[in-house]
Assembly symmetry: C2
Amino acid sequence: MEISNKKILITGGLGFIGSNLTRRLAGCGNSVTVVDSLIPEYGGNLRNLHDLRDEIVVNLSDVRDPFSIKELIKGQDYLFNLAGQTSHLDSMNDPFTDLDINAKAQLSILEAGRKNNPNIRIVFASTRQVYGKPQHLPVNEKHPLNPVDVNGINKIAGEQYHLLYNQVYGIRSSVLRLTNTYGPRMRIKDARQTFLGIWIRNLIEKKPIQVFGDGKQRRDYNYVDDVVDALIIAATRNETAGKIYNLGAPRPISLQETAQIMCEGLKGATYELVPFPKERKAIDVGDFISDYSIFQSSFGWNPKVSFTDGIKTSFDYFRKELQHYT
Amino acid sequence: MEISNKKILITGGLGFIGSNLTRRLAGCGNSVTVVDSLIPEYGGNLRNLHDLRDEIVVNLSDVRDPFSIKELIKGQDYLFNLAGQTSHLDSMNDPFTDLDINAKAQLSILEAGRKNNPNIRIVFASTRQVYGKPQHLPVNEKHPLNPVDVNGINKIAGEQYHLLYNQVYGIRSSVLRLTNTYGPRMRIKDARQTFLGIWIRNLIEKKPIQVFGDGKQRRDYNYVDDVVDALIIAATRNETAGKIYNLGAPRPISLQETAQIMCEGLKGATYELVPFPKERKAIDVGDFISDYSIFQSSFGWNPKVSFTDGIKTSFDYFRKELQHYT
């Protein structure tokens, strides 16, 4: 373990990636505080850390509450800044909430750091959504940013605040742009976090899953443990401060193939191709393949878990835990 | 006049550029409503339009007030969206106000347009500040965006919201990235709008002006009438919708030469080179020269007023009007 005997704050810590990171960091003498608002439409779920309640501190508060963060940030060695509004569609229907969480609250967190803990080391979780519809594939970090939804715009602001506070105030901050992350503890109630969530739920509940469009669009998926590795690398390598890195996967997979892999070995599981709902088409980005070669070559980060294996582990988890996630 | 017999809304209409635009558009059968909050630290000044009070509608309200804009936007043909927080330094000292005005209020204006007037034609005034410190000169529209202050970050969000609402909802919006604009009716109380303002005031008041650093940094200046031309072009050409254009000037001028030109012919006028104040150095961008060849070649826009002539006109204006601007 590369982080031990440290004080660590994780926003969105009861959420999907946050809870997996917390599980990794708890122990080794680390003292972990998770902050989460448990907003029903988001990823936070007490079940994600229910077995660790004696080992960590759970602070229920919202990142939009500046008073809470001001106090919690004091004395921390690391901040993994993962809380966010993640639904592209919700960001169009309620753009102000997305702005408040993904932009304004980030500024507020950084101001808290500047005033109360300028030596903190921060990693901010951003998204490939900032690129919008790719102009070329794969998409590296220099690809122009043309977001197709409010979420992408506000995440850019969130990224830039982190780089700015690094540059101007010396608060060491790194940004990772995550692609489609999946695995145990993700939200499966609906497609708000990723469509893979609702697909897993539907398949477990023996419902058909729906592929929008012709199913040829390609995506790259990261298993959550690989993303946790990347977050820890970003936090512990000096040279990541003030920089932005893509994560990604070695093999892009079409939506149709994704559905096929997920249906394999599940008795009676089927998928269907359906036309794109209009409001989703308007903000769809088409093929997306991330070029993560800079992070890979700089730090030896290579996703270890294949999509087939990761999906199997996810099914195993959610089959047992279904009642806590639906 | 390319716009006649139209209904026109101008946010920041009592400000520097807004009032000059209003003066151009009033008449020709245009019905102009200006919205301004008259915040003392910003550019709004009743004097700017005092002689036109019978010909236009002045609505005192803040763009952060969604109720006001919702109603005012109804039935308008054009919106020139010029209200903004412009001070780079203020954006660092009070980042949330900058965010609320330059990002959140823009979203709110666009939402108002979407709901109450989706056929409106919008031009949004952005800034070269979005580029940050140039990686190469001159800076064209594809130059990476690495803003060096909170203001630049929030203006990017403001731009992107406009392009997004154009793309997703068909609200025709264009973005102009302005460089250093100057001329009659600018703010000269201090350097919040442009350092040229405080230089003019100090020279008129027979105080020395201060050049930060070695004076070799180059800037490109646009006289306000040329910018008004550009705003009207952007509003009236179909092909500008959904696009971003730089403005700029044919000849970059160093800060020292700027000071020399401004002191010329003024008895006893002097400038002094002084070290950069620390908080300004942290967010300074060095040389900045805009490449405006796309807007120039597409629409035949060429700045007509030389810096020497424009500064002379500005001095003439402010000498007469000094009491209303200090």
